[in-house]
């Protein structure tokens, strides 16, 4: 036993020495980086700060700081005169929320994805906010969030949470490699129809676009996963084409609402993808790739077109070599199709019934919609992340683009629109080219109006539609099932095992609550 302890102690010593050897990087305590002008503006309150507990999912880099002791949360506490205590879980978040809420020991406010937001609102754990929110008390909050998003937040007619609306409500763009387009002499501005895009992808696959003398390139790839509507596979492989086949949105047929994957358009879309696969255009083992692998393969020139966020994140270094494709014209003559994005509301902030000061939280989010709040989230803390030079906000070079995600999760809300105040800050973080592509994403993208405003019915999850649809989709794409002969039984199978219930619930909602 003694030997064991000695060995363990030695390990700790060695490890400490390695760590201390990087003293420059280590940031153990708060304010570990000496930054002399780090005095955020003092809070306005002479009153005692209100204590609030926030349950959220901080799953991004926090530079080694404790989530409750770092420049950002300290700034918020000072600025807003609130004593915020964060409970954060980066993974298994749903489990954490469920157990915390089940224990009856509610936090004051909690970050909730759509499914849990609807569930806890219906179960009565969240405060109804309709009487509280008004333009007088919270002018910025009401002005910042469009009425439609407040309507999306209605559960049984009441609003139970503050929606976090992305300022890029339609962030997808399909990108093609510029060098391949150039090598093959394809002018992307001439691509209009689905056939045009098919030909481009065919050329990417068979005409040696990287000019290495080998037949080792593909047009498209993907990986699997995600829900049937917001599927990553849909996003990667099919996002370029799905709306062109009119297969991306909920439809109302004969007065009944049906999901996109039951429409006839989806059948044609699958047929098209199967053709792509059969012609060798899709990477054959896409189904076992992880998202990271797909992105890496794209970077390394294995295939030529990938659907991504306009921000490109980890592929940002490729931006110069990427051409943002306009979506093709719809096959049935309906004009240009769009890149459909499913969740412009990333999460809701629910205020629980245990909260004694809901107005403080709403004030906090009102502040988030102001210029000051927007600066905090997108630029950071003055004297720490940025400085004011001649009245202009200049982000420090080594802090550019860092921690935006951390800050907005810590606060729980951000400014919902890119206005003249926000644009220069974003430009500093991302660059001009990225801002142009953000604009393009707004132009090329759309949300499905039915899907985004529809509630989430948790009992429908029992039917496990996602695996049913995903299995069928991938089996068809890979040529294991012939879509013409199996489509009808796929649809009737869906209806038989829960689809009926789905249609019933959504049609009912459509007839009663949907604002047309």
């Amino acid at each position: 036993m003694k030997k064991t302890l000695v060995l363990i102690l030695c390990t700790i010593m060695i490890v400490s020495m390695v760590a201390c050897g990087d003293a420059g990087k280590a940031t153990p305590e708060s304010g570990g980086k000496t930054n002399t002008e780090a005095t955020p503006p003092a809070g306005t309150g002479s009153e005692k700060p209100v204590e609030l507990t926030f349950l959220c999912q901080i799953n991004v880099d926090t530079e080694g700081y404790d989530v409750n002791d770092n420049p950002y949360i300290n700034y918020l506490r000072e600025e807003l005169n609130l004593d915020i205590n964060i409970i954060s879980e980066s993974s298994n978040y749903a489990n954490k929320v469920n157990t915390v809420m089940a224990s009856g020991d509610y936090p004051d406010y909690v970050q909730l994805p759509k499914s849990l937001y609807f569930k806890y609102a219906q179960d009565g754990a969240l405060l109804k906010l309709d009487d509280l929110i008004n333009e007088t008390d919270y002018p910025n909050l009401m002005a910042g969030i469009d009425e439609q998003y407040w309507n999306f937040s209605r559960v049984d007619g009441g609003i139970y949470g503050v929606p976090f609306v992305r300022y890029d409500t339609t962030p997808y763009i399909s990108y093609a490699r510029k060098d391949w387009l150039d090598n093959l002499g394809i002018d992307p501005t001439t691509l209009k129809t689905v056939d045009d895009y098919y030909n481009m992808l065919y050329a990417f696959t068979h005409n040696d676009p990287d000019q290495n003398g080998q037949n080792d390139t593909y047009g498209l790839s993907s990986n699997t996963g995600g829900s049937a509507m917001n599927s990553v596979a849909e996003r990667y492989i099919g996002m370029l084409f799905i709306d062109a086949f009119d297969a991306a949105q909920f439809k109302v047929i004969d007065g009944k609402v049906i999901p996109n994957y039951i429409t006839d358009g989806y059948k044609d879309y699958l047929k098209f993808l199967a053709k792509l696969y059969a012609d060798g255009i899709i990477v054959p083992d896409y189904i076992t790739k992880t998202q990271k692998q797909t992105e890496e393969e794209f970077m390394n020139g294995k295939f030529g077109v990938l659907n991504l966020f306009w921000s490109l994140s980890s592929l940002n270094s490729m931006r110069e070599n990427l051409y943002p494709l306009a979506p093709p014209q719809k096959v049935n003559g309906g004009g240009q199709s769009k890149y459909i994005y499913a969740t412009p509301v990333r999460h809701w902030i629910g205020i629980t019934s245990a909260c004694k000061h809901p107005e403080k939280i709403l004030q906090m989010y009102d502040w988030a919609e102001t210029d000051a709040g927007s600066e905090f989230i997108h630029a950071g803390v003055e004297g720490w992340d940025f400085d004011r030079v001649n009245g202009e906000l200049v982000i420090r070079e080594d802090r550019v683009g860092i921690n935006w995600a951390w800050r907005f999760i810590t606060l729980g809300h951000q400014k919902s629109k890119v206005d003249s105040q926000l644009l220069p800050i974003l430009t500093q973080s991302w660059g001009e080219l990225a801002m142009e592509q953000l604009k393009l994403s707004e132009q090329y993208g759309a949300n499905d109006p039915l899907y985004v405003s529809a509630p989430e019915f948790s009992e429908l999850s029992d039917y496990d539609f996602d695996t049913y649809v995903a299995s069928y989709r991938d089996e068809v794409i890979m040529g294991r099932k012939d879509v013409d002969s199996t489509w009808d039984s796929f649809v009737s199978g869906w209806y038989q095992f829960g689809g009926d219930h789905w249609v019933e619930l959504y049609t009912d909602w459509y007839n009663t609550s949907y604002n047309k």
């Binding site: 569930k119 179960d123 083992d285 076992t288 948790s458 009992e459 999850s461 029992d462 299995s471 095992f497």
Partner: protein, 323 residues
């Protein structure tokens, strides 16, 4: 002889009402009082941290509202069971997949740690034996996330080493991870690679407990190696083997979630999607507590029934059992 022989339970049952019964009971408890002292803390712990939570199984019979708790939730009886047994799209397929994987495991995986332990016992050099032991335990510590991706890469149709070997012999590359018929075997084979080494520990410990004099005596009777294994090693660890087998049978309705989650993709769900992956999908993000509790209860009841049955059979046939 001071040691009491096993009480004849049947005799005790019928005499419970006799006045001498309670007196005998008190005498026995006092005689074995220290054993009950040893027993006591553990039992208390079990009651608090295992049996108290079991009250939560009742959620399966209610439409559980997390805010109102059980008392505020609507009683629905066997409604959820009715749903999964008769109306669910593929619940029985999930059960079949779970059972199939575990049966394959019982047949192919179960003997391997035993065989390995016996083989390791043959290694004469203590140093080499320890090295081998340490090596075979290593994959146990690699998470399924990483281990699964290794398996997938091994079996990749384009770059995987298995297919490269196949093609070198003139065969055609097979996309193993996408063929439903291979999936269950891949699950078991990868489990063997990852866990069989760790599984030898129990049997090694059991073999260590064998009295070396038994071997000496047999060798004097000029038994060869195979006979030693057959007639001494295996019988001496047979109790351990039976107990482990019974425990595995009890858990036959459970397949670990993480391994399947990492290895499966939609094209193999038909043979590979199991109860635990389904429960993970619907229970976690959607809070379907009542349904997932009902499913868990079903798994437990089946597993326990099988365990009781097999325990009785084992007791009758081999005189070895869990209880």
């Amino acid at each position: 002889m001071n040691i009491n022989t096993v009480k004849n339970n049947q005799a005790v049952e019928t005499v419970k009402n006799r006045p001498g019964y309670w007196r005998q009971l008190r005498k026995d408890i006092i005689k074995d009082r220290w054993l009950y002292v040893l027993l006591f803390p553990g039992v208390i712990w079990y009651i608090i941290y295992r049996y108290l939570p079991m009250l939560g199984l009742s959620i399966a019979f209610f439409d559980f509202n997390i805010v109102k708790g059980i008392s505020g939730s609507k009683f629905v009886g066997f409604e959820y069971f009715r749903y999964i047994f008769f109306e669910h799209r593929n619940f029985w397929q999930l059960v079949e997949n779970t059972l199939a994987i575990n049966v394959i495991k019982l047949v192919f995986y179960f003997p391997i740690p035993i065989v390995f332990a016996i083989m390791l016992n043959e290694i004469m050099s203590v140093k080499y034996k320890r090295t081998l032991q340490t090596l075979i335990y290593l994959p146990h510590f690699v998470s399924w996330v990483v281990f699964g991706s290794i398996i997938i890469t091994f079996l990749s149709p384009s770059e995987g080493i298995v297919n490269q070997i196949i093609e070198a012999f003139g065969g055609k590359s097979i996309f193993f991870m996408s063929e439903p018929k291979y999936f269950r075997w891949i699950v078991v084979a990868s489990d063997i690679w990852k866990e069989a080494g760790w599984g030898t520990i129990i049997y090694l410990a059991a073999i260590t407990g064998i009295d070396p004099q038994l071997y000496e005596a047999a060798k004097i009777d000029s038994a060869n190696k195979l006979q030693l294994i057959r007639h001494i090693t295996i019988p001496c660890i047979s109790e351990t083997i039976v107990v482990m087998l019974l425990l595995d049978i009890g858990r036959i309705m459970n397949v670990g979630f993480e391994q399947i989650y990492v290895l499966a993709n939609p094209t193999v769900y038909s043979t590979g999607d199991v109860i635990s992956t389904y429960v993970h999908r619907i229970g976690i993000g959607n809070g379907r507590f009542s349904l997932t509790t009902a499913i868990g209860l079903f798994q437990s009841v089946i597993g326990f029934s099988l365990l009781v049955t097999c325990n009785a059979i084992s007791k009758k046939s081999f005189d070895k059992s869990l209880w």
